[in-house]
Assembly symmetry: C2
Homo-oligomer: 255 residues x 2
DNA sequence: TATATCCGAGCTGTATACAAATGTTATATC
DNA sequence: GATATAACATTTGTATACAGCTCGGATATA
């Protein structure tokens, strides 16, 4: 039987011969991850308009392979392609937000039930590195640094998921919702957020050290709940569904 | 706030003006569903090679919009696009099969917990029509007719899912795995299968009539379990992972 | 000034020519 | 006959020209 065809996410390149020209799929993957990261770190906040021509120029290729990347991001719900306008980073309404977070909470618990991967020393040391980084950004107050932290924590977590479809779904739902959470960051107390992040990370490490995958996902689930609650409280407090608290102009265009 | 951007699946077209030219997205959706149905009904069984030029000719458009459809099917795991070869319908190995079915079982139970839709008379009458169709195909012995039955039952079920992301995921996982199950059909006892289908449908109707969504998904979950067990037993019996029991030639090419 | 209309810049959608990749088939060689 | 090699047909990947769409601003008019 041929090797299973999977969406080529989370795949390490062999990179044996640096002279070998990058394959079409590798380039697609690279550009896809680059743009997805920009969206997730709010370098491209919601309503940002991306022009295919601009991206094609930046990556020094024609519109065709760029369109493939953007269509993938569209299928995954991260951008909206509008004829005559451009490719727009999606916003997310409070109802969808809650739906995604609820689902993520349930799926997180599934990780420990569907043949999870073995917890290795590499996982633990990766987590300890994350813990150090968390402690070092109390003074930074950089939303982007915090976003990277969240993304990297997510990366460690999905590497524990044994079931391939569950891993893909978890990954997709994370990128669909996490960036919106970061939008709220400037409106909240920075030290509270970071200490919560520090606590989540260290509690996960503790669970990992006793090889307790069930404990790991329980911690994750709990902090997902905290995040959702925090957002709900904030929205109730303001009384409005105030999205995009960061930006002022209605549309940001990439130039 | 703008209306939420979602993958445009399961969307009824207004179709007010028959003279109005079909929009780009509508055509994409139509061709996508057409090809997905062919794959799910095994009109294009695993390893079928589709050529973009052929499909472009059939639908009387250029390769460009066809490629968009095929790439979407690729992202969803239904086809594998190979440079210099063609676009090949994916097979599925037994490990992935089990992973997908396990996940589907858990997600099915979630339907009743994440704000399901109200069960209406329309749902029930649609189900009763399906029950009639099921009873009428005992003599037909047509895998394709059975496949349509399964697809339509699935359609009713996902229309009960209130959470949009859960609905999309459930839909995707169904099409990823259901067609493989139908592959086994000719090797099993036809009357057993159809009577099981009849039972599943009528038990669902009973649960629907007492407005018991939890009961509906429990029935579904149980029959998913039965299917997985049946496949496992069959594979144990033959001792081999004998996929593609239907076809003989190694590659079927569309002409 | 207020309003409606038109026009054009800039974007995505489509078709198409060509480049690169792949598998097969014919052919040369031993 | 067996095997290695080269040529070829067919496919997907890419670049690009052009068509169609959208929106904002200029302009005409009351």
């Amino acid at each position: 039987m041929k090797e299973q065809t999977l969406i080529d996410s989370h795949q390490l390149k062999p990179c044996g011969d640096p002279l070998a020209r990058e394959s079409s799929n590798d380039r697609h993957q690279r550009i896809y991850q680059t743009i997805r990261e920009r969206i997730s770190l709010l370098q491209y906040p919601p309503h940002t308009v991306m022009a295919e021509t601009e991206l094609a120029g930046e990556f020094k290729i024609s519109r065709t392979p760029i369109r493939r990347v953007l269509q993938r991001l569209h299928f995954e719900g991260l951008v909206d392609i509008r004829n005559g306008v451009g490719t727009v980073v999606t916003d997310i309404d409070i109802k969808t937000m809650k739906e995604v977070y609820d689902l993520r909470m349930y799926l997180t618990e599934l990780i420990s039930e569907l043949s999870p991967c073995e917890i290795t020393g590499e996982h633990i040391s990766a987590m300890e590195a994350l813990l150090e980084r968390t402690r070092s950004i109390y003074d930074a107050r950089s939303s982007e640094a915090y976003g990277r932290l969240c993304n990297d924590l997510h990366e460690v977590l999905i590497s524990l998921i044994g079931s391939v479809p569950l891993r893909e779904i978890t990954d997709n739902l994370y990128y669909r919702s996490a960036r919106i959470w970061i939008t709220f960051l400037p409106s909240l107390d920075w030290n509270d957020i970071i200490s919560e992040q520090e606590l989540e990370t260290s509690e996960m490490i503790a669970a990992m050290k006793r090889n307790d995958i069930r404990g790991v996902v329980q911690v994750r689930r709990f902090y997902l709940h905290c995040t959702l609650t925090r957002i709900s409280d904030y929205l109730k407090g303001t009384g409005t569904i105030a999205f995009r608290p960061i930006r002022s102009s209605p549309v940001k265009r990439i130039r």
